[in-house]
Amino acid sequence: MSDQEKKGQNPEDDLTRRQWLMRLGEAAVLAGFSGVAGEFPSTATEQSPSPLEKLPPGLYQPMSDHLSHALLNDERLHPIPPGSPTDYVRPLTGLYRPEFFSPREFETVGRLVELLLGESPQAHETTVGAKTDEPVTRELAQWMDGVLSQAAGVRKAARSLRPEHRALAVRYYGSAAVEKRENDEAEKVCREGLAWLEAESTRRRGKPFLSLGESDQVELLTVIADERMDLPKNHVGVRFFRWIKATVVQGFYTSKPGLKELDYKGNSFYVECPGCTGEDYSS
């Protein structure tokens, strides 16, 4: 692996999208984009329209200005077009106030996310949300708080489906999945799991979880982690670990550092169709 590639593997890496795309060899194409509306690096044919043509609403012409902006956009937040039907993340003003977790629980969850990801402890209560430099562990703790505060609403919506719509969901997803959506209470799993964690921490070490040193915290997590066979599947702590690990996986690998760590090559710009770049695969 070259130094360049090794650099790319490190999630703390400061590669911007532009640098990343150039690494892929698309520099020539990017350079051809001047950001002017309707302009393209290729030669226009007789049938190509005038760039300043006015079309009725709902019709459109190929545009490059958005594309070059999107590809060079390194921001955590996306600009929100007025009237957009999409729920973009909005910038927070001030501190994040958890909606589901108590402040204490929220701190504990933040620490658990750090442990699950192997990240060092971050300072608490000093960061504001949804900024480019916000640690991903904060971002995930906030997202989890959001998921849990919405969970009751999702269950209510699932239970309120008209019979014909529920019948379609059962036919499509299977009744087990539909019932899970209607009944599973992640809030309960979390609350009980966090309570178990505190009780166990006190029992073993006489201290709350957040006061333990890292190795003690890791030891406690390992008790309920997925490699252990000595606890039943529906054990309060095991259920909680299962939920929080899966949620952290979902959250981390949809985050900017997570996608970078995976060396995700999608959401990009390719001049040639991606195909097969591997060595001889039939070994």
């Binding site: 012409q61 209510k156 195909g275």
Partner: protein, 560 residues
């Protein structure tokens, strides 16, 4: 009040082609589209990262359950693209309890061309003349040679990237260079072609692999259904509708929900009645010709709702078959497994918007006969690296866990089979006697179920898929499901206003003209007689272009 040469209902794949051809041939055309315009800067979500979305791409489940309880079942309707699908409460429909139907719709300028999967295969006489070969139901009133020049015209204009395969059962066309196969698909090609002598080819897709008619080539982000700024795949708002607009003879009125065709006392159409989508004002538009291209079931719904004293069952229904012979492909899904030879610590480039196809070989001219059922099926699939799905089954946590996720990247191979549904009189739509949509228009009651032929075909599809899984020597193979997919799930619903030579058995003649009413045409999937096992959209566009040629010619001659 202006009387247009043509009133056109619907702005999707069919409507766009009719608009382009009629206006280019000199006809003043008014297009009415039920939905609103989509504005790229406001509605497209191309290149948005999951972490920039409130629900990280997993979707606002409560909102989807509340507003789009049916649409959300569609793979393409989620956080990035729900805006292109209807609100199910404004647009309800009904079905009998024992015949669930999943009706997926997009109502906007562009219709479903924003969300379609772009697969574009020509039908052959295996489809158009299937009845002549196996004796079941009716032939189409034209054959492949009649449609071939229109397939040529459509492909040449919109751009379809594909490989030339010289397969008689799926004719080659006018192609741009094909997309590539993934590593796993290349391996599958070797194995399947060697063991079964079945061709494995890249999907034929309406994405551009080179610049075409002023539209740049696809840049392989695989986000077509989020809207495409570069217009590198076919959708009507960026391809056919602008061509119509440039003639100066095209008027588009969006947010216009057409309820019925207006008939005069001589039994000819004089226009349409529509309701403003937002204000609910009732309006009329007048034209010498009416072309209905609102999508298969919506077009039939409009005709059924156009009852008059002269046409008590709706115009075009003297045969009694309007609403009948509804078809949709059925699929067997879920087959797949891991390819251990491709496990890697290196990320492959990703973003090709298509996979691979294995065309139909069963029950075609010169193919492999299977007497247990009529007609046949095809396969498609792909092999790709897991992004992070494998992380859910890697034990542990912390840096060691993350390293495994990063360095032990599996490749998953998945395949499904898609089969032909026979046209049956008993699969039909009618107007619901009670229920109305948000504009007071009677909704459709849909009666559709798969029958013995589909069940027998599904059995063969399943056996075949299992043989392929076996030959691929996959790790942790998952067998294909036994259950046939939900009717409507494939979003290829066709039929209900079929073409035919005999006016007693069909609604339309071979040029999509109502047998009963010379100046009314239906050009979309409602006109289909059989369906084959291939996606209908390319064929819908070719048929629409051909019908439009006929309309323009007949109009010039004063026959309409």
């Amino acid at each position: 009040m202006k009387i247009y040469d043509a009133i056109l209902v619907g702005s999707g794949a069919s409507g766009g082609w009719v608009a382009k051809e009629l206006t280019e041939q000199g006809m003043e055309t008014l297009m009415l589209e039920a939905g609103p315009p989509r504005i790229p800067s406001r509605d497209f979500t191309e290149h948005v990262w999951p972490y920039q979305l409130k629900f990280r791409g997993f979707g606002d489940q409560a909102a989807l359950l509340e507003r789009q309880p049916v649409q959300r079942l569609c793979y393409a309707c989620g956080e990035y693209s729900h805006q292109f699908f209807v609100n199910d409460h404004e647009n309800p429909y009904t079905f009998p309890v024992d015949k669930p139907f999943m009706w997926i719709r997009g109502r906007q300028v562009g219709g479903k061309t924003f969300c379609w999967a772009r697969e574009s295969y020509r039908y052959s006489d295996n489809e158009f003349k299937a009845a002549s070969r196996d004796g079941y139901e009716e032939d189409w009133p034209f054959n492949y040679k009649d449609l071939e020049p229109y397939y040529d015209k459509v492909e040449s204009f919109i751009g379809v990237s594909a490989s030339y395969e010289r397969l008689p059962q799926m004719p080659d066309g006018k192609f741009l260079p094909p997309m590539k196969l993934s590593c796993g698909a290349l391996r599958a090609k070797e194995i399947i072609e060697k063991k079964f002598a079945w061709r494995v080819m890249p999907d034929r897709v309406a994405n551009l692999t080179v610049e075409h008619q002023g539209r740049p080539a696809c840049h392989y982000c695989d986000q077509c259904q989020r809207g495409c700024y570069t217009a590198s795949y076919f959708n009507s708002p960026a391809v056919t509708l602008p061509a119509a607009a440039r003639t100066g003879r095209f008027t588009l009125v969006s947010d216009a929900v057409v309820s019925h065709v207006l008939m005069n006392d001589e039994g000819k159409a004089r226009g349409v009645h529509y309701i403003d989508r937002t204000t609910h004002d009732h309006r009329e538009a007048y034209g010498r010709v009416v072309v209905v291209a609102a999508s298969a079931l919506e077009s039939t719904r409009i005709l059924l709702n156009s009852r008059s004293r002269r046409f008590p069952n709706g115009p075009g229904n003297s045969s009694g078959v309007l609403g009948h012979y509804l078809m949709d492909h059925f699929t067997l899904e879920g087959a797949g497994g891991f390819m251990p030879q491709l496990k890697s610590s290196r990320r492959e480039p990703v973003g090709r918007p298509c996979g691979f196809l294995v065309p139909k070989y069963i029950n075609i001219e010169g193919g492999i006969p299977n007497k247990n059922f009529l007609r046949g099926y095809r396969f498609d699939g792909d092999a790709s690296q897991e992004l992070y799905g494998h992380a859910f089954s890697i034990p542990g946590f912390g840096r060691g866990f993350r390293r495994k996720v990063r360095e032990e990247i599996p490749t998953y191979f998945g395949m499904m089979a898609q089969g032909e549904c026979l046209p049956r009189f008993d699969n039909y739509v009618e107007l619901d006697p009670e229920k109305k949509d948000a504009w007071g228009i009677p909704v459709l009651r849909i009666h559709a179920g798969y029958g013995e032929n589909e069940k027998a075909m599904a059995k063969a599809m399943r056996e075949h898929l299992m043989e392929i899984l076996d030959a691929m020597k996959l790790e942790d193979p998952v067998l294909p499901r036994e259950e046939i997919s939900l009717f409507g799930k494939n979003i290829h619903e066709c039929g209900t206003a079929r073409m035919g030579k005999d006016p007693r058995k069909s609604v339309l003649n071979s040029f999509n003209q109502l047998h009963d009413v010379k100046n009314v045409f239906v050009t979309d999937g409602a006109s289909f007689v059989t369906q084959g096992c291939y996606e209908p959209t390319l064929t819908i566009m070719a048929i629409s272009a051909r019908a439009a040629d006929y309309i323009a010619e007949e109009f010039r001659r004063g026959n309409l």
